[in-house]
Structure formats: structure tokens, C-alpha cells
Subunit: 202 residues, 2 copies
DNA sequence: GTCTATACGCGGATAGAC
DNA sequence: GTCTATCCGCGTATAGAC
């Protein structure tokens, strides 16, 4: 929102302090969650002082909200790039599931649902809910296309399949992080794809 | 491990202090995670003083380990009660998925994978990993039975399907907590069941 | 076994100078 | 806009008395 909105990822020197604070917060929220992230840690990561942080934001919740909103926006944009691409319904869902991911880091949005202070706050939870809700709807639309085109063999509920797809991804992260290896994520995804392709006319 | 191991759930007056501390820790870890749980909060919930806690345990990680181990054991026992029951392979998997759950509280074991201090510690992560690993193996065995009996139509990988089942459950919690309602969990589970039953000979 | 005292830095800010 | 000072309770123990 300030001059020179250079989209530099790192908390380098070219971005404004407010910008660096938001980016640092995004990173820390992803890594350690809301409860595990302190203002001091944010300031250090951003290379900003207390005064700076409290000048731009009213406090930790305010800054976290800005960070969560941006992360949510990015997630939607990234998913749309895959889901809005070319190909059959199955192909797009497969592309979404097989997309490159930083599996061991988990989902920067989904992980927030395990944060007690986030779930309890309607403001902080809202962007999380909206994002997952949007994703389910977007996938449901694609499944419905597949159903309408006769690509998928019914009876199948588009809403249900869409939720299963999102849940498998979110749960895949849990399995991967538990074992310390991305393999479990891939295994879960392949299982879902096997089940889904069995109902697909190729 | 002390006299009178009364299995009273609440941190009532009959259990030993060490027992109450473990139970209180289990509850808090479930509710707020490891990072969000302080020794002081545990002591208050357990009705025990500092001295008592540090007499029985060397510190927060030690107490958390005892709590996590017990929760992991209980989860396995509970799952086994359903999975070891009677019925076809599909019926047992369905029973596991439709089992009554405190959906909005999430999985007391899976949620720990989002705790930065837990994932980083091999000791604390081990029981989490073992539990999820056991669960996947147990389900894979059942799927394999179904495959061998011709109940499920192959080709299907038992390991993959098992991972998808566990991932859907874990991800279902994420969806439910994001929306603040258990409905999303149920929707995801129904989607998986629909996909699975389509490959089942009834 | 449990209690009380003490410690020291962090969490999460507010106030006012520059 | 940013810096430094100051605040107060919490997080996470340790020490020693009872």
C-alpha cells in the first residue's frame, strides 16, 4: 500500500518496513503458527524496531491478519492457475493434486486451524475459512463439469468429492510431517487418484 | 505407575498428582498444542503445585512426552476396537470413518504435527509417527483382505488406499475447524466412501 | 512429595523523544 | 516513521524448607 510495491520475497532492504513486517510474519506464521510467533521474532526477521511495528500495526493480531489475508490471496491465485488451466476435469484435478508443493512445510492456510488463538477469533479465522470454502467450491464446479460431460460416472456428489480432495491434501501434510518425509503425502494422493480415475471414462 | 491407578478421566481428587498432571497435560495439548501450553496452566488444571510437577517430571518436554504417549496408546486402542470388529473390509472401514468423533476438537495426535517444537524433536514426534504409521498399516491390512477376497475390485494399492483414508480424516478435521462446523468433515468422508463403495462388490 | 521463594528473560505492549 | 525507555505479568525453571 506504500510506494514501490516491489514484490521482493525476502525481507531485503528495498521493501518498506511495513512490507517487510508482513512478509516476515507470513513466514513465521507458516513455520511456527500464531501462538508460536512473537512480535520480537517478527521484528528481528523483518529488520524493524518495535516503534516501527507498532506504528504500522496496532498489535500482533492486526499484523497477523494482514499476513494471513495475503497468504490466503496467494493460495487462491496459485490454485486458480492450475484449476483454471486447460484439460479435462480429471486432468485438472490431477494437476492440482500432483502440483509441486513444499510438503514438509504444510499448508500455510490449513495449519492455522490448529492454532487455538486463530480458531477462537472470528476475524483471524475468516480468511482461512473463506479460502478453504472457495477451494472446495472451485473443485466442486470442476467435478460437476465432469459429471455433466459424462467424463465421470455418477452417482457422485460434486461437493463431496471436492471436499475429499481438499481433505486428502490437508491430511497428506499431516502424514508427511509426522513421518518427516513427503512420501506419505504422495501415497495418499495416489490412492485418491486411483479411486477417482476408476470412475472416469478415458 | 503409582498406587491405585484409578482410570478417572477428570483431574478429580482420587488420582495421584502425577496422574492428574498427565491428564491435565493431555487435555491442554489437545486444546492448545505444545507451544500454547505452559507449565503453569498445567499445574492449575491439575490442582498441583510447581514443586509437585518438577518432582515427578524433569520439565515440560518430559511431561508432554508422557501425555503424548498415553494419548497415542488410547487412540490406537480406540481404533482397534472398530477395525478389529466383525464385518466385511468395507464395513469396517466405513465404521471407522463414521465413528463418533469430537470433530471440532480435531485429532489429539495429528494436531501435534503442526506444533513446531514437536516436529523438531525426535522424541516427541516419535509417538505421533508411530501411531499414524500403525493406523495406516492396520487399514492397509484390511484393504488387502478385501482385495484378496475379491470384495474390492483391483487394481488398487492397499497402502495407498489406507493412506488416503487416514489423510481424509485428518484433513476433514482441518475443514471442520476452519468452518467452525463438523459438516465439512462428514462431507469429505461421504465422498471417500462413495469412491470406495464404487469399487466394492456388494 | 509438596510448598514457598527467587530468578531471569520473553511476550506484548505504551510513552515520548528525535 | 523509527528509536529508546519502561512496564508488568508469564514461561520455565532451580533451591531449599517442611
Amino acid at each position: 500500500m506504500t510506494t514501490r510495491t516491489s514484490t521482493s520475497a525476502a525481507a531485503g532492504t528495498t521493501a518498506s518496513a511495513s512490507e517487510r513486517l508482513v512478509e516476515a510474519t507470513r513466514e513465521l506464521l507458516w513455520e511456527r503458527g500464531y501462538v508460536g510467533t512473537s512480535p520480537k521474532a517478527i521484528q528481528q526477521a523483518a529488520g524493524a524496531g518495535q516503534g516501527s511495528m507498532y506504528h504500522h500495526f496496532t498489535g500482533k493480531p492486526d499484523l497477523a491478519l494482514a499476513a494471513i489475508r495475503r497468504t490466503a490471496d496467494e493460495l487462491r491465485a496459485g490454485a486458480e492457475r492450475v484449476l483454471g488451466g486447460p484439460g479435462s476435469a480429471y486432468a485438472r484435478i490431477e494437476a492440482y493434486l500432483l502440483r509441486e508443493r513444499d510438503v514438509l512445510r504444510g499448508c500455510p492456510v490449513g495449519r492455522l486451524t490448529m492454532d487455538p488463538d486463530v480458531v477462537v477469533s472470528d476475524e483471524l479465522r475468516a480468511p482461512v475459512d473463506e479460502t478453504l470454502h472457495w477451494l472446495r467450491g472451485r473443485l466442486a464446479g470442476i467435478v460437476q463439469e465432469g459429471l455433466d460431460d459424462g467424463e465421470f460416472e455418477g452417482p457422485l456428489s460434486a461437493e463431496e468429492i471436492a471436499s475429499t480432495v481438499v481433505a486428502t491434501v490437508q491430511g497428506g501434510y499431516v502424514l508427511a510431517r509426522a513421518s518427516g518425509s513427503p512420501a506419505a503425502f504422495d501415497t495418499a494422493v495416489r490412492g485418491l487418484l486411483a479411486l477417482l480415475s476408476a470412475r472416469t471414462r478415458h
